[in-house]
Structure formats: structure tokens, C-alpha cells
Amino acid sequence: MFAYLLNRLWQSLILLVLVSIIGFAILNLAPGGPLSQFALTPGMTREALDRIAHQMGLDRPLPIQYLDWVWRLLQGDWGKSYRDQRPVLDIISGHLFATLLLMVTSTVVSILIGTWIGIKGATKRYSLFDYTATVGAMVALSIPTFWFGLVAIYVFALKLKWLPAGNMYTIGDQSLYDYAIHLVMPSLVLALVNIAVWSRYMRTATLDVINQDFVRTARAKGLTARRVLMKHVVGNALLPMIALAGVQLPTILGGALVTETVFTWPGMGRLFLDSLGYHDYPVVMGLLMFSAILVLLGSLMADLLVALVDPRIRLG
């Protein structure tokens, strides 16, 4: 277990270094690089720009600049926002909760619905239900999330008036119920694609398990169909799902960005778009790096969880 853990941590570290190199390359790709903020100031001269570049250490060789940038990231100095001069890390953590709330709710919903559809599809293979679920999943994967959000707002907020059209709470209310009712539509919209993904994988995983010997043994022992399904089939089919959760994380995070925009949800996605609009590159870069680190941590945790549950991996 310890060797596996060490190996996995080492891999994550290498990935983190590569991620930071890509991030640094994009940072220097910005028109005028990190200087773009000053280049827009009226009355700015070439000499003044060069002076600022020297002060910021931008006239040093790129590898030195990169190491300096990484060192500051490690110390928690992620730069300051151009907009209000607040530290980038503070701004991001202020928006983290809203995004995590949305992502966790939607993931729980999509795993519950997705696994149910997947198991039912696998046990009743080639039935009308299975066929509808297969086609439905492919259509769900093809619908643009933001457009599905617009349609949902039109139907449930504007026409039926059942749910609020956006925001995280009503100003002045902010009761638990108020939060909950604002959460329903964005989390379901974000869940749609994931339900499709989960149900497909769960169907395949269940079909893989259902024909194995230990399931036949369980049946032969005289266990009820339900008990065989719940204890022996689902238990084993769920295992690859944990790893899938790690793989799906970038998609869910990207989906959250779009969903937040449509529902004016005050999370990281909204912050990202607002910052792009203001050319607030430190925040944009901070969010890019932060989301990649979040993804790396997520997949690391998923892999460790799989190793904890499945002895074949940590021993093999």
C-alpha cells in the first residue's frame, strides 16, 4: 500500500509540474504578457513599460521567471486582482463554496439516477427501457448545457413559475428552503450530461459483472434475485465508478462554469468569465491553475479510494 501511495503521489507531482509549465506558457501568451495591464494605461511610453518590466523582473530569462512564479505560487502569493487589488487566492476561496455546493449536489443526484438507469438497463437488456436510455443518453450528451439551462428557465421559471430563474438566494430571505429551491434547477441542468455518462458506464460495468462466476454461485446458493443484484453485482460494478468520478471531474467543473453563467450562480465559473471580461489576467490564471490542481487532487483521491476498497490494486 505504501509503495503504491508513494508512486501515485510522485505521478501527481510530475503532472503538477507539467500543468504549471502549460499555465506559465499561457500566461506569457497574453498580448503583452503580464504587462498588458500597464500597456493600456493612457500616456504609457515604451521607456516606462521597460522600467516596469525590469521592476517586475520580466527582463530575466524565462526559466528564472518560471521558477520565481512557481515559488510564489507555493508560498500562496498568487498575485493581486487588477480590479480591486485583492489577493487572487482570497477571491477564489470566496467563490469556492458556491461552486462546490453546485458540483457536489449535482454529482450526488447524477450518480443516484445514473446508476439506477444503468443497472435497470443492464438487467433488462434490449428492453424498451434499455433502448430509450441508450438513445436518451446520446441525445443528452449532445445538448449544449447552457441551452438546456435556457429551456429549463423558460419552462420552470418563466412559464410555470415553480422555480427561481437564477441566483443562489433571494436577498433578504436566505433561509435553508430558499437556498434549496435556488439549487434545484442549476444542479439538475448540470447533472444531465453526467447522468448520461454514469448510466452508460454503469450499464457496461453491470454487464461485465453479471456474467461472472461469483454471481452464478450467489444465485446457486439460493439468494433472492434482489440480494444478488444489490450485494454482489452492484457492489462490484460500483468499483470502477469511483475512478470514473475522478476522470469526470474536469468535465463537471467545466459544466459548472457554463451552468453558473446561465443561472447567475456566484461561483468560480462566473468569477472566471467576469475576470475575462475585465482582462483581469491574474485571476484568470489563478482560476486556471486552481481548477487543474483541484482536478489532480480529485483524481488522486479517487485512485486512493479505489486502492482502499480494492486490495488487488494496492497489493498487485
Partner: protein, 295 residues
């Protein structure tokens, strides 16, 4: 032996539509439906603008927010009184072309990196694949938007940055295929003949991995159309007055109550196009995968 091979290939060349792959594809009802839908859409986008009485840029302020089927405006008009049908067909040309060329470019990048990583393996292969993993760690929309904010948003640059953010899956797939083909006898034979590495990689190994690449490329068209729609909707993709399916939806949210067709019409077009390519990809997967015969 060369005679047999020759006759086989001429047979396949004259009757490709009667080949096993084509027959299996035609048995896949959804794939045929997808092929039909996308053919109709391409035809409509090519021919449509010539048949409609309105130009996509013709502004008629008296006819603002006309609902669908008002006079000759079959899909209604937008907040400036422009004909939505005319804009939809012209937007389709842009969106489909961006999707297609982004697929070509990303398949090219992914295939070259995948072949090199899979063929050489070892440290070079491992380094390239870790690089692929690192790219996959960024949510692609974040990466795409960050890049889009830095470049001139012309259709060409949008195509390039979509390709830059979608080549990784193909690289992974090709690497796996090539790695499994590398030790096969025909590759050893080619090595013994002293053929150059580049020849072995792209002329000997790659043709054997073409099936999965075609499937992945088809699905990449679907993905590229979606990505273009996402960034254009958010205002960083194709810029007006040039219409794309994504940027037609850009202002739709604020008129959702008053003019829902502004959102519904382009959204349905995107969904239909993307669904079609996903169906076709699924059909190709079944048709090209010899193992699926066993099921």
C-alpha cells in the same frame, strides 16, 4: 499472393458500399438517421441562403421580434428584425466548417503525438503521455476561454484553439493502438528490411489503427461544434455580425420571456447536428469493430 491482394482491393474499390463495413453501418438505424439528418442540414446550409427572400444582414426594424411563421419569416426575426432562418443557415456554414476543420487539425495533432509516443515508447513515450495527462487536467472550457481571450477571434483562430484543446483523447487512443501493434510480425519484418522509422510508423502501423481513429474523429466533430457553441454563446468565439449557432444564442437569454424562439431555433440546430455526429460515430464504431460480430 499479390494477385489475390490486388483483386481484393479492386473489388473493394468498385463496390465499397457493398462492403461488410458499409452493410453493418446501414444496419445501425440511428447512424443512418444521423447521416440523413446531417446531410439535410448541410444541404440546407449550402442552398438555404439562396432560396430565402431575406439577406442575413437585412435589418427591418418594423419587423422586430416577429414570431415564427410570420409572413416569409419561417423562424421569425431577431431584436433587429433580421430573418432568423437566413442567419441560421449562414451560421450553420460557419459552425459546421469550424467543427470539421477543428476535427481535422486535432486528429492530425493527436495522431502524430500518439504514433510517436506509442512507437518509441520508453522515456519519450512516457513524457509525451504525461504531457497529454497534464492537458487533460484543465477543464477544456476554462482552457479554451483563456486562450480565446488572448487571440484574435477570427473563425480560423477559433478553429485552431478548439483543436489545441481537443487532441488529447485521440493521442491517448492512438498511443494504445500503436503500442499494441508495435511488436507484431509485420512491424518486425519492416524493421528487418531497414525501412525508416517514419515509414514504419505512418505507412505500416497507422493504417492498421485507422478504424478507431475514424470513430474518434467523428465524435470530435460533435465535440468541436459544441465547444464552438459554448465559447460563442459566452461571447469569446465567432464575433457578430458573422453569425454562428453559438453567438445567435448569445443575446437570447434577456429576451427569453418575450421571444423564446431566439433561443429555441439555434439550440435545436446545435443539438440536431451534434446528435447526428454522435449517432454516426456510434454506428461507425459498431461497423468497424470486427469483434462486435460476436455479440
Amino acid at each position: 499472393m499479390s494477385d489475390a491482394k490486388l483483386s481484393l482491393s479492386t473489388d473493394a474499390a468498385t463496390h465499397w458500399w457493398r462492403s461488410r463495413t458499409a452493410r453493418r453501418f446501414m444496419r445501425h438505424k440511428l447512424a443512418v438517421l444521423g447521416l440523413a439528418m446531417i446531410s439535410i442540414m448541410i444541404f440546407a446550409c449550402v442552398v438555404g441562403p439562396y432560396l430565402l427572400p431575406y439577406d442575413q444582414l437585412f435589418i427591418d426594424l418594423r419587423a422586430r421580434f416577429a414570431p415564427p411563421l410570420t409572413g416569409a419569416h419561417i423562424f421569425g426575426t431577431d431584436p433587429l428584425g433580421r430573418d432568423i432562418a437566413a442567419r441560421l443557415f449562414n451560421a450553420g456554414r460557419i459552425s459546421l466548417l469550424v467543427g470539421f476543420f477543428a476535427m481535422v487539425l486535432s486528429t492530425l495533432i493527436g495522431t502524430v503525438i500518439g504514433v510517436v509516443a506509442g512507437y518509441y515508447g520508453g522515456r519519450l513515450g512516457a513524457a509525451l503521455m504525461r504531457f497529454v495527462d497534464a492537458f487533460l487536467s484543465f477543464p477544456s472550457i476554462f482552457l479554451l476561454l483563456a486562450l480565446a481571450a488572448f487571440v484574435q477571434p477570427s473563425p480560423f483562430m477559433i478553429t485552431v484553439i478548439i483543436a489545441i484543446t481537443s487532441w488529447m483523447e485521440i493521442a491517448r487512443l492512438v498511443e494504445t493502438e500503436v503500442r499494441s501493434l508495435r511488436e507484431r510480425d509485420f512491424v518486425l519484418a519492416a524493421r528487418m528490411l531497414g525501412l525508416p522509422n517514419a515509414w514504419i510508423m505512418f505507412r505500416e502501423i497507422l493504417p492498421n489503427a485507422i478504424g478507431p481513429i475514424i470513430v474518434a474523429a467523428t465524435l470530435t466533430v460533435a465535440r468541436a461544434i459544441l465547444l464552438e457553441a459554448y465559447i460563442s454563446f459566452l461571447g469569446y468565439g465567432i464575433q457578430p455580425p458573422l453569425p454562428s449557432w453559438g453567438n445567435m444564442l448569445n443575446g437570447a437569454q434577456q429576451y427569453l420571456d418575450k421571444a423564446p424562439w431566439l433561443a429555441i431555433v439555434p439550440g435545436v440546430a446545435i443539438t440536431l447536428a451534434v446528435t447526428s455526429f454522435n449517432f454516426i460515430g456510434d454506428g461507425l464504431r459498431d461497423a468497424l469493430d470486427a469483434r462486435s460480430d460476436l455479440n
